[in-house]
């Protein structure tokens, strides 16, 4: 089926080569980092994780969100998702690949990455994270590829793949729960030491992932003859709305606990992120943009009349995606390190090579996504006239 990705319009190739160009720059920047060390980044002794790990954290959520299509379609027989469930699975594949790459580029000694397998350490959450991420990639490759192949032939997917589909549901929850546990089990980091971390991760994931999926569906409809379906997009919009409310609610719980208890350690990171601490306030504008975008998008989404207009729905989805990217793809990780263990403030901002490497990894993800979607679209365009299979 891969051949379908090798034919396309001029616009398709311009997009592909643009991505390849950004990837090229990213690879060159990575070679520089590989040679010099992680000192090329903005990270420091005090803020020892930065952009890479926060992108990884954010993208695990995007990957996990495929389950928001799998559950309605396979467990509740919601047929409207039949056509787009493959888009969710392929998005998951691209997102998990980015996750794995982001962990890789964050390693100080990347050539030793196999030590995680050579010396398996079950008491380390990172060991489990590597396990569940690779497992999730594997499951989605099997399920996505098998169901699409069956579709192309016009037959129902083979029965042996069903267990993998059902397994993908708890597995999707597991990848984001385990990722939250990376943070939520560390003594001394008050900002992360919260029992609702995994719940908040899942809520924000089910808002950010489906909002990206809505945007992708609209793009797919624009550039191809495959229509993901108006009703499917609307249902996704409702999922985004509920999930975003849950996320904002959980964030509110964090604020309450921190500020009503008045325990300094619990308040400090929030104060740093939203108001600045000891005169340091680099992230304050970003965090407020995130909050304002979240509020505007929620006001829009909760109103059915606005949500039903696809242009406005798309606008709200862009806002939610940016809002959650700032919150989770930046503030959450950096906030945990500020103030440091001595209650002093060291700020973090990504460096140029770090940004280029990050863009490079995102471009690899989008390249994978484009190729997979191209194939899925080609199959869907061909079978669009056929009656429903399932």
């Amino acid at each position: 089926m891969l051949d379908k990705a090798l034919t396309g319009s001029k616009g398709y190739w311009i997009w592909i080569f643009s991505l390849l160009a950004v990837i090229g720059v990213g690879v060159l920047s990575y070679l520089h980092q590989f040679d010099y060390g992680l000192g090329v980044t903005g990270m420091s002794r005090d803020v020892s994780w930065g952009f890479y790990i926060s992108q990884f954290t954010f993208l695990v959520g995007v990957a996990a969100s495929a389950v928001m299509l799998i559950i309605p379609y396979y467990l509740h027989d919601y047929k409207k998702f039949g056509k787009i469930v493959i888009l969710g699975e392929f998005l998951a594949i691209a997102a998990v690949t980015m996750c794995i790459l982001f962990i890789f580029v964050d390693l100080g000694q990347p050539m030793r990455v196999m030590n995680v397998i050579l010396h398996p350490t079950p008491n380390s959450i990172l060991f489990w994270d590597a396990t569940v991420l690779n497992g999730y990639l594997f499951i989605n490759l099997i399920v996505g590829w098998t169901t699409l192949t069956a579709d192309r032939k016009g037959v129902p997917p083979p029965n042996w793949v069903k267990p993998f589909i059902y397994l993908s549901i708890p597995w999707a929850v597991s990848i984001h729960t385990v990722t939250a546990f990376l943070y939520a089990g560390l003594p001394g980091r008050h900002f992360w030491l919260t029992a609702v971390m995994a719940a908040r991760f899942l809520a924000s994931a089910f808002a950010s992932g489906p909002s990206l999926l809505i945007l992708l569906c609209l793009i797919v409809r624009k550039v191809s003859k495959f229509d993901p379906g108006k009703e499917a997009i609307q249902t996704l919009g409702k999922i985004v709305t509920y999930a975003m409310f849950a996320n904002v609610f959980l964030l509110g719980l964090e604020f309450f606990t921190a500020f009503y208890s008045q325990i300094p350690g619990h308040m400090h990171s929030f104060v740093y992120l939203y108001a600045g601490l000891d005169g340091y306030s680099k992230l304050v504008p970003l965090m407020w943009i995130s909050s304002i975008l979240a509020i505007i998008s929620l006001v829009m989404l909760v109103n059915p009349n606005i949500r039903r207009k696809e242009n406005l729905l798309a606008t709200a989805c862009v806002m939610i995606f940016i809002s959650l990217w700032i919150d989770k793809g930046f503030g959450l990780v950096v906030g945990g390190f500020v103030p440091n263990m001595f209650e002093r403030v060291t700020e973090y901002w990504p460096s140029l090579p770090e940004t280029l490497i990050t863009l490079g990894v995102w471009s690899i993800g989008f390249l994978i996504l484009t190729v997979l979607y191209k194939i899925a679209i080609a199959v869907r365009e061909r079978t669009a006239s056929w009656p429903e299979l399932h």
């Binding site: 010099y36 060390g37 992680l38 000192g39 980044t41 990270m43 420091s44 002794r45 005090d46 020892s48 994780w49 962990i103 964050d106 390693l107 100080g108 000694q109 990347p110 030793r112 990455v113 030590n115 995680v116 050579l118 010396h119 350490t121 008491n123 380390s124 959450i125 990172l126 060991f127 590597a130 990376l182 943070y183 089990g185 560390l186 003594p187 001394g188 980091r189 300094p264 350690g265 945990g336 390190f337 440091n340 263990m341 001595f342 209650e343 002093r344 060291t346």
Partner: protein, 264 residues
């Protein structure tokens, strides 16, 4: 060449036999070597749980602090990179307020408020860094020392996120050009790995106390926490001490004598 069943079984049987006896021989060689490598020498200092008591009231001048820090950093090839971002340090000075955040009181004797404390790895009894390491590159030895294998560390820095004491440094760049006088007695590190204080495990093996203790004129006391007659236990029963962030449950093995004026 094709192998029939009979020949295959003969071959398998023979190689198993060689394998069994061969492995036994190799195991014997390896075992003696390994035992020799890990068993303490006759002069080695040993303990059930190494611990340190720091009485900063006995460290008088800035030069005294520098001497202690230099004693450690010089024999361990700790680089002086000269900027805060890439900084690598095993033992360093910090004021009272920032050494004991959340514990420090508003009104304390002047002698404590403006005193520098020496911070280093706490060699916790329940170390969070060891718990999170995905490769066992950092591990707890039977004598309580939290050690590092610089050759196994993948540089994920999970241990740095987990350590409640900011005791760990990462080699953001090649540290070797920044080592003033390299000593051949201790390995240098490469870029991309985490490092920290080792409680001078390499000196203990040769019967020597940690370098900082030796350079401290008695301000730093080192010994076995589980031995009631050890120097640390005597110091702990004679003085009121604090540990950093005991509430996080890591059970640090470094104690600080909080004396106030009677020691000033």
């Amino acid at each position: 060449m094709s192998i029939n069943r009979r020949n295959f079984l003969k071959f398998a049987g023979a190689s198993t036999l060689i394998g069994v006896t061969g492995t036994a021989v190799i195991e014997k060689i390896l075992l003696t070597d390994a035992e020799a490598a890990v068993s303490p020498g006759s002069e080695a200092l040993t303990a059930k749980r190494w611990a340190m008591v720091i009485d900063v009231s006995k460290i008088k001048t800035e030069d005294d602090y520098k001497k202690i820090i230099h004693a450690c950093h010089s024999i361990h090839n700790v680089p002086d990179i000269g900027n805060k971002k890439d900084e690598v340090k095993w033992i360093w000075e910090e004021d009272y307020e920032h050494s004991f955040p959340g514990v420090s009181d508003e009104f304390v004797p002047e002698s404590i408020e403006h005193k520098s404390f020496l911070l280093l790895c706490n060699h916790c009894a329940k170390p969070a860094c060891v718990r999170v390491c995905p490769t066992k590159a950092t591990f707890k030895r039977p004598d309580g020392i939290v050690a590092m294998d610089y050759h196994r560390c993948i540089g994920c820095r999970f241990c740095m996120a987990a350590c409640p004491y900011g005791a760990r440094s990462f080699n953001w760049r090649d540290p070797r050009p920044f080592i003033k006088e390299e000593t051949k007695e201790f390995p240098t590190r490469m870029k991309g790995v985490v490092e920290k204080c080792t409680f001078c495990s390499e000196r203990l093996a040769r019967g020597l106390k940690p370098a900082c203790v030796e350079a401290s004129n008695g301000a730093l006391v080192f010994g076995d926490l589980e031995d009631p007659n050890s120097e640390v236990r005597k110091a702990l029963s004679a003085h009121y001490t604090l540990r950093r962030k005991p509430e996080v449950g890591t059970a640090p093995s470094v104690y600080y004598v909080i004396g106030g004026n009677e020691h000033a």
